[in-house]
C-alpha cells in the first residue's frame, strides 16, 4: 500500500488540489484533511498547502494555527511526523513556532508571481533528500507576504545547522533575509517553503518538473522508517 500523505484544506486554501495531484504523481495516496478534523486519518506525512487561510485575517497563518487539525499536526510534528508547508503553509508553520522566524510583506509591496530559480542548500531534510546539494531548480513563486525575517542569531543558527533548505538565485524577489526561500526544523522533518513545488510536477502545467523530488523524497524516508 502506498504512503498516505494528508493535505489540509483550510477555509481560503487554494493549492490543496495541486498538492494532492503532486502527491499522486510522486506515487503516494493523497488524503484530504479538513481544518476542523479531530484526527489525522492515519496519514504518514502532511502537506500544508498555499492560499489565504481564513482570509489572511490578523496575520497570514495566525488563525490557522488554532484550527483543530493543527493542534494534532503540531503535536505529531514535534515527534517526527514529516510536514511540508508551502507558502501559506510556511506562514502557518512559523506562526505555530514549528519553524523559527516569520514571513512579512514583500519589501517592494507588490504581489509577485514568477518562475523562480532556487538553489537547494540542504538535502538533509526528509523533503529534500532526492536533490543534489547545490542543485538549481526553477519552480513558481507567488506571494504577497513572502519576506522571510528572523533575528541575526537565528539566521546564523539556521545556516550553521544546515537548516536553510533553499535560497533564491539572482535578484531577491521579496526581501527575504539572506535570500532564504525555505528552512527546516532541527530534526529535518518539518520544512517550510515560500515557492511552490506542487505547481512544477508536469510539463503541461508547470515551468519544469523540478518540484517532484520534494514529494518523492519524503516517500523514501517513510519506506526507510517502516
Amino acid at each position: 500500500m502506498s504512503a498516505r500523505i494528508g493535505v489540509v484544506t483550510f477555509p481560503g486554501s487554494l493549492d490543496d488540489a495541486d498538492a494532492a495531484r503532486a502527491i499522486r504523481i510522486a506515487g503516494a495516496t493523497p488524503v484530504a484533511l479538513w481544518h476542523g478534523d479531530a484526527n489525522l486519518h492515519d496519514v504518514d506525512a502532511v502537506v500544508l498547502p498555499g492560499g489565504f487561510s481564513y482570509g489572511d485575517y490578523l496575520r497570514c497563518g495566525a488563525i490557522a494555527k488554532f484550527a483543530p487539525v493543527m493542534s494534532l499536526i503540531i503535536e505529531k510534528a514535534q515527534v517526527g511526523l514529516p510536514v511540508l508547508g508551502i507558502c501559506n503553509g510556511f506562514q502557518i508553520l512559523c506562526e505555530s513556532h514549528l519553524l523559527p522566524g516569520a514571513l512579512t510583506r514583500n519589501d517592494h509591496q507588490h504581489f509577485i508571481c514568477v518562475d523562480q530559480k532556487l538553489q537547494i542548500e540542504s538535502t538533509q531534510t526528509l523533503w529534500t533528500g532526492d536533490f543534489l546539494p547545490g542543485q538549481e531548480i526553477v519552480i513558481p513563486l507567488k506571494n504577497g507576504e513572502g519576506g522571510y525575517v528572523a533575528s541575526e542569531a537565528t539566521l546564523d543558527e539556521l545556516f550553521a545547522e544546515n537548516r536553510v533548505v533553499a535560497t533564491y538565485v539572482g535578484t531577491n524577489p521579496n526581501g527575504s533575509y539572506r535570500n532564504i526561500a525555505g528552512i527546516s526544523n532541527k530534526a529535518g522533518n518539518v520544512v517550510g517553503l515560500m515557492p511552490h513545488p506542487e505547481h512544477a510536477v508536469e510539463a503541461l502545467t508547470g515551468p519544469t518538473t523540478d518540484g517532484i523530488p520534494f514529494f518523492t523524497s519524503v516517500l523514501k524516508s517513510l519506506v526507510g522508517a517502516s
Binding site: 496575520r59 495566525a62 512579512t104 510583506r105 514583500n106 525575517v149
Partner: protein, 81 residues
C-alpha cells in the same frame, strides 16, 4: 464594562514596507519633514465586568500569542475598567 485597547506594531528592526509607502505618499501630498512612518494595528475589545485576576492574565497572554506575533511585533495593552 472594561475596554481593552491593544496596539500592535512591527518591531523597530523589521522593515515596514506599508509604512514606507505611506511615508512616500505623505511627502507627495505636501507634508514636509516626515522622518519615519510605521503602520500598526489596534484592537478594541469590550468585555463584561471588570478585567482582573486570571482573566487579565489570559488577556495579556492572548495579546502576545494571538493578537501579535512576538517574533516580529511588539504590543502595548491598556485597560479602562
Amino acid at each position: 464594562m472594561a475596554r481593552v485597547v491593544v496596539n500592535v506594531a512591527l518591531k523597530p528592526e523589521i522593515l515596514d514596507p506599508q509604512g514606507r509607502a505611506v511615508q512616500g505618499a505623505l511627502g507627495r501630498l505636501g507634508l514636509s519633514g516626515v522622518i519615519d512612518v510605521r503602520q500598526g494595528k489596534q484592537f478594541i475589545i469590550d468585555l463584561e465586568g471588570e478585567l482582573e485576576g486570571d482573566r487579565a492574565e489570559l488577556m495579556d497572554k492572548l495579546a502576545g500569542e494571538l493578537l501579535s506575533n512576538p517574533v516580529i511585533e511588539d504590543f502595548t495593552l491598556t485597560v479602562e475598567n
